[in-house]
């Protein structure tokens, strides 16, 4: 296990150095968030019926989403993509580390470090000035925290699975294009999932991406009462285990069959 922790450690340290980029990203997020708050306000102002979630809750969803934006399984790891393309992945396979676990550790670091670094400024500013509400109760806050940790694992398992798929597609271009849009939509980042039409709700309730952001947000705002949190943790864990199993299975198949590109 020490090998994996070492890799996790190194990559986290490396990613903490990207501070200037982080500042620009935070500014962009604040701007985007402000615009979206205004858009939601305008929509709710014209609404006479009651909605599944209140304006305050929607705004909270929005800011939580922006704070934890980096948790989303956004894209493939460029380095690994290049390795698979030019065949250097063979070097990775020669190491005394299991490939899946290696890539999972990398994915986890790539999610955890930027998120930890960037969530605080947006959370604080949004909480003080921009309409982010406090958790409904202490239990809700704790449930949110646990859910976010589980979301890290879920997201990492999705990313790793996508990385494994590169053994078959070689170039990541196709999936790289589609992934951000799918994850952003289905995790509730574009519009909070509760606001989607009623006929879509059954599908949205079961798809795995809701575990990345939608479930934590609902726990935070009390849309899901803290008493029921355990069931939703189970949901996140179940999907995580599924993706891990699928990823390992595919990696195993790939090891047996694949052809190394290049010299």
């Amino acid at each position: 296990m020490n090998g994996y922790f070492a890799i996790l450690n190194i990559r986290v340290k490396m990613l903490f150095q990207y501070r200037a980029a982080a500042f620009a990203a935070i500014c962009t997020q604040l701007f985007w968030g402000l615009i979206t708050v205004m858009i939601y306000r305008a929509f709710y102002a014209g609404s006479e019926t009651s909605e599944p979630i209140t304006l305050g809750q929607t705004i909270t969803f929005l800011w939580l989403g922006q704070s934890f934006l980096r948790i989303l399984p956004w894209t493939v790891d460029k380095e690994i993509e290049a390795q698979v393309k030019n065949g250097n992945v063979a070097y990775e396979l020669v190491r005394p580390l299991h490939l899946y676990a290696l890539w999972f550790a990398r994915a986890f670091a790539h999610l955890a470090a930027p998120t930890a670094m960037r969530c605080a400024p947006v959370l604080i500013l949004a909480g003080l000035f921009l309409g982010l509400q406090a958790p409904v109760s202490l239990a809700a806050g704790l449930a949110f925290f646990v859910s976010v940790i589980l979301a890290f694992f879920l997201s990492s398992s999705i990313v790793t699975l996508v990385m494994i798929s590169l053994f078959w597609t070689i170039s990541g271009e196709g999936i790289k294009r589609m992934m951000p849009h799918i994850t952003v939509l289905l995790s509730g980042m574009v519009v909070p999932l509760p606001l989607f039409p009623g006929w879509m709700q059954p599908f949205l309730s079961f798809q795995p991406f809701r575990g990345v952001m939608d479930i934590p947000c609902r726990l935070y705002t009390g849309v899901i009462p803290a008493a029921e949190a355990v069931y939703y943790f189970a949901f996140q864990i179940a999907w995580t285990l599924f993706f891990i199993w699928l990823g390992r299975y595919c990696a195993h198949r790939a090891m047996k069959k694949f052809v190394i590109q290049g010299g």
Partner: protein, 237 residues
């Protein structure tokens, strides 16, 4: 293939807007097809600008590597050279998406193709393209003075796109002011469409004047560029 996935990707962005209108029906008196007009114009304009301004995107690399010096040695305007350096057809996906939304909106609102509406839509799209092209030029011009902080300019380009795709009337006064006077995004998309739909009370021919703001902005951007070139000191190569 890439174009197709880009197109599909941008379609998913529309889903968000559709969801909101499906639930709320209207925003500040604008219905979905009406917003679709503004959306179509601004995305088509942005796409045109994107297709032709790719080189400005990567201009900071050109400066860093000292390649810009080569352009200065040639007997052609450096702005022109950078402008024609690269054309990225892939971005046409956004244009198609905007166009389809526009078609749907026009159809739903029962606009006919050969009418005063097209006469207003076309300059709006061109004005929008000019505006965003100007923003890309400014973004590149900043490379003359600073090597970073270009990401912050994205707030004006992509941020401007996100702001402009909704009717401006939903935003705060301050924001409206910035995006009308400083970066006239509302002039090129919102006001022409609002006048067309009589959401704003201007005479119809005014709608032809508004997009001129985009061209004026582009002109000023080019002037800024010339300023940058005049004071340019190479990093060596």
């Amino acid at each position: 293939m890439l174009s197709t996935s880009y197109l599909l990707g941008t379609f998913i962005d529309i889903v968000g807007i559709w969801v909101l209108f499906d639930r709320f029906k209207m925003v500040k008196g604008w219905t979905l097809p009406e917003v679709g007009l503004v959306y179509g114009v601004i995305h088509m304009g942005f796409a045109i600008a994107e297709v032709f301004s790719r080189a400005f995107d990567q201009f900071d690399q050109m400066i860093k590597q000292g390649e810009f010096d080569r352009l200065l040695l040639r007997p052609l305007s450096p702005l022109f050279q950078v402008a024609v350096c690269e054309v990225q057809i892939m971005r046409i996906g956004r244009f198609v998406q905007g166009f389809l939304v526009l078609l749907w909106s026009a159809n739903t609102l029962s606009f006919s193709l050969f009418s005063v509406h097209t006469a207003i839509l076309a300059p709006s799209v061109l004005g929008t393209a000019a505006l965003f092209y100007g923003l890309f030029v400014i973004q590149a011009t900043l490379s003359f003075w600073t090597t970073e902080s270009l990401e912050l300019m994205n707030i004006t380009t992509f941020g401007g796109l996100q702001v402009g795709q909704y009717p401006m009337s939903i935003y705060s006064k301050m924001l409206r002011l910035i995006f009308t006077v400083l970066i006239p995004i509302s002039c090129v998309a919102y006001y022409p469409m609002a006048t067309l739909l009589q959401q704003e009370a201007y005479p119809l021919w005014f709608a032809l004047l508004f997009p001129l703001a985009g061209f004026l902005f582009l002109y000023l951007a080019c002037k800024l560029w010339s300023l940058g070139v005049a004071h340019y000191r190479s990093t060596g190569n």
